[in-house]
Symmetry: C2
Subunit: 239 residues, 2 copies
DNA sequence: GAGTGGTCTAGACCACGCA
DNA sequence: GCGTGGTCTAGACCACTCT
């Protein structure tokens, strides 16, 4: 019947249906899904098959299950989810929550490199957010964030952008960041880096480029973070 | 009855038994495990419980399952496993296999910082391996690798160290690297960096520190990689 | 006590690899 | 044709949460 896979297991079909419904907002972040029994009945499959899918989605941080309570759509401002995409830490591993300062937002046509990262056409309009992030009260990261205007209508009308943007994307625009690709390299602090973060000329900094992907795999944000790493590191665990 | 977990599900017990047996070398890397049916019978649990555990171990890259053939202990020199701990790539994502050059090995007492990373006592003996890594034929990474002598007896008697050390650890010393913690920061190229990799003074480089952990969570290797990132990046996917 | 997820079982049938 | 893993089912019982 189908051509690409030739055959799709039942649990795969159930998986796709649930992901699509979550992406469409059939259940909002934080809301409870129907129980396993109910889902199984509605979809005409067994308890075990539904369970396998719910377990997989939980492992992917898309759902949250609590015994005795129910299965919930994961929210970005929850516990560990906060640090899923934030990897700056003190050497040794201690993670700190950064504050945002000097937040600016403007609208402009996207540049070629941004069009490539975000799968836009040249000159499509984007929002450009720039901000300074403080760790322990001291300037530590300078960020530029590019968002397609089409996906975030009237973003610039929002008064105060919150510290954790991904919660905003999710609650205000129905966009859940499900994955990200990052590329890291070393560079020298520019003039702007130096004045923003109080660095001397010739200081090396860590530059992190990130493409954030939605539930459907669509690129929704391009971000460049310029980090001073005299007191901080980028920490990652490989398993 | 127990205090810490209070209760350990059956599948958790089966999981622990299998990990221990693999760590002890009951089955060597590349060898086939008994079939699901056999394991279930021997352990007195059901097919489904064994299956749940084997699936989990497969997801952790500890086992490899092939329909129609069997379940095998994963090897480090297999396909995707090669890149599990190697994240240097060209911008955009293309991964290249690095070559090793100028490999040197010596024995010495460990330093305080290494003792901390590897949970050694001060002055425990370690092997220090230094090497230059070439990507596309050009010097790109300078590495220092510290190994506890106790875990790698007579490592210095091995003539040619292979390009992929983790395969060697596994095949010659029965040590499987199962996870790693990395910390990245930016630094300026040292004199040695400059002469080894042909860099100018004041060039920023990426410094990657890594502690590699065995199946049992024991730290077995400390490594520092100094990477030129004018043509390369450190690429990571967050999910 | 009712409803939820968590564990565990027993068994059926399918798809794949190999001799 | 046999043995392997892969899928799917139906049902039992346990553990947790809330009322």
């Amino acid at each position: 019947m189908n051509d690409t896979p030739g055959y799709r297991p039942l649990y795969r079909q159930v998986y796709d249906i649930l992901v699509r419904k979550i992406a469409e907002g059939a259940w909002k972040p934080g809301e409870m899904l129907p129980s396993e029994q109910t889902l199984a009945r509605e979809m005409g499959v067994s308890h075990g098959t539904v369970r396998k899918v719910l377990d997989a989605l939980t492992a992917e941080n898309l759902l949250l299950r609590r015994q005795g309570k129910g299965t919930f759509v994961a929210e970005h401002d929850q516990d560990r989810a906060l640090f899923r995409f934030f990897h700056i830490a003190r050497p040794g591993g201690e993670r700190l929550v950064p504050q945002s300062a000097k937040v600016k937002i403007r609208t402009r046509p996207c540049r070629a490199i941004e069009a490539g990262k975000l799968a836009l056409r040249n000159k499509d309009m984007v929002f450009e957010i720039t901000r300074l992030r403080l760790i322990g009260g001291k300037p530590a990261i300078r960020e530029t964030i590019i968002l397609p205007e089409r996906l975030f209508p009237r973003l610039d009308r929002i008064g105060d952008l919150p510290n954790t943007l991904y919660s905003l994307y999710q609650s205000q625009f129905g966009i859940t960041v499900a994955a990200a690709r990052e590329e890291l390299r070393a560079a020298l602090a520019t003039q702007d880096d130096q004045s923003s973060m109080g660095l001397k000329a010739g200081t090396p900094i860590l530059v992190i480029g990130r493409v954030a992907l939605s539930l459907t795999g669509q690129p929704v944000e391009w971000r460049e973070s310029r980090v001073r790493t005299d007191q901080l590191v980028y920490a990652v665990t490989l398993q």
